[in-house]
């Protein structure tokens, strides 16, 4: 009789323990798949804060003459470019794609929404300057986000086809003297319209850690220094001041300018 009581008591005690332990368990937060099959991962927002610069000078408006540290005078009358294929690299090297987003960076606007991304620690930002070949072959009205593609100044022709879009359009005036000693009145006009699929250029920013928190916004603060476009360009040859057609985009001059594009982007 005593043995039965002892065993019953033991079983009762064990059941109590099991119930108590189960009540102590917490479900893991936000890992249940949603009905559409997506995982309900906590998200934050990533945005760009993009400043337009000429060397050390932030460009406040068009047609203002800025002087570089080398003494060369430059003014801009147009400065805009497409950013696409945005990727964020997490600290564990996994990649978060925001590849559907296309940004048209213009002088007048500095903040741009990239998209919602999973919370966590990130270390790198990558993107391309230009539009992927599929988008580059489209007429603007065929896309829902055609507003930013419907910019005539970003077409090579009367419309975006058959030549495609201008990926980077930078125009203005520059001192073309060899020793950068020219006066403002001597500055020469330049026009660089970079495009074509061959010139779709990858930009990989240097590693810089940042954190995206749930429901919060993380900014990537980047300066775009257009003076760097001229690195390696012999300015006192007038033919080097214009890249305006798709044919021009196949020249060594265009290649030099395109290869300068990644150096334009500098963390603030």
């Amino acid at each position: 009789m005593t043995t039965i009581k002892t065993k019953s008591g033991l079983i009762f005690s064990m059941m109590l323990i099991v119930l108590f332990c189960m009540s102590a368990c917490h479900p893991k937060k936000n890992v249940e798949p949603e009905p559409d099959g997506k995982t309900n991962i906590p998200m934050g927002t990533f945005m760009f804060h993009l400043h337009t610069y000429i060397d050390d000078n932030e460009v406040d408006a068009y047609n203002i003459v800025y002087t570089t540290t080398d003494g060369r005078k430059i003014s801009l009358s147009t400065a805009q470019l497409y950013i696409s294929e945005i990727q964020l690299v997490k600290a564990d090297n996994s990649i978060v794609d925001i590849s559907k987003k296309i940004i048209l960076k213009v002088l007048e606007t500095e903040t741009y929404l990239a998209g919602d991304v999973p919370v966590g620690n990130y270390k790198n930002i990558r993107f391309k300057v230009g539009l992927n070949p599929t988008t580059n072959a489209l007429y603007p009205p065929t896309r829902s986000d055609s507003v930013i593609l419907s910019k005539p100044e970003m077409w090579f022709g009367a419309t975006s086809q058959p030549d495609g879009y201008v990926f980077l359009n930078v125009q203005g005036k520059i001192d073309t003297t060899f020793d950068a000693s020219g006066a403002i009145a001597q500055m020469q006009p330049f026009s660089y319209k970079i495009g074509t699929n061959a010139n779709y250029k990858q930009v990989i920013m240097p590693n810089k850690n940042f954190t995206v928190e749930e429901g919060q916004v993380a900014f990537g603060h980047i300066m775009i220094d257009y003076s760097k476009l001229f690195n390696g360009v012999t300015l006192n040859q007038s033919t080097n001041l214009f890249v305006t057609t798709t044919a021009d985009n196949a020249t060594p001059l265009a290649k030099t300018i395109v290869n300068n594009i990644p150096s334009l982007f500098i963390f603030e």
């Binding site: 002892t6 033991l10 917490h26 927002t45 007048e108 606007t109 929404l113 940042f210 916004v217």
Partner: protein, 130 residues
Amino acid sequence: MRYYKITYVVSFIILSYSCTYDVAEPVIVCKTPDTISFGRDIIPILNAECNTNGCHSGNSPSGGLNLEQAFAYKELMKSGSGYIDTVITKYSVLYAQMNSKSNPMPPKGKLDACKIDLVFKWIQQRAKNN
């Protein structure tokens, strides 16, 4: 009797491992006024935390943003700059940087929650120059 002792010892060990406790966030009560004044509430924060020497002041302010009292409002409200977004408050660069975990402004560390709350509510209230 021996089974009971063993049971209780095992129970104690299991419970010790299974229990967790939540660290309660300290409850901060901010005495935020109903209407935020740029001059009374925001400028003192900028003066104390942002426009100190070498930062957002002088001829070459950090990030090209001068937050000295005489310039702050105009600079923050500069069209297209994004420092203030009265439509989606959290998109405001000013607020997002103050609230940033990895890259807070000021860089010495996040301001206390009440100061950040003041800035957030000032923007929510259309960021008036009052």
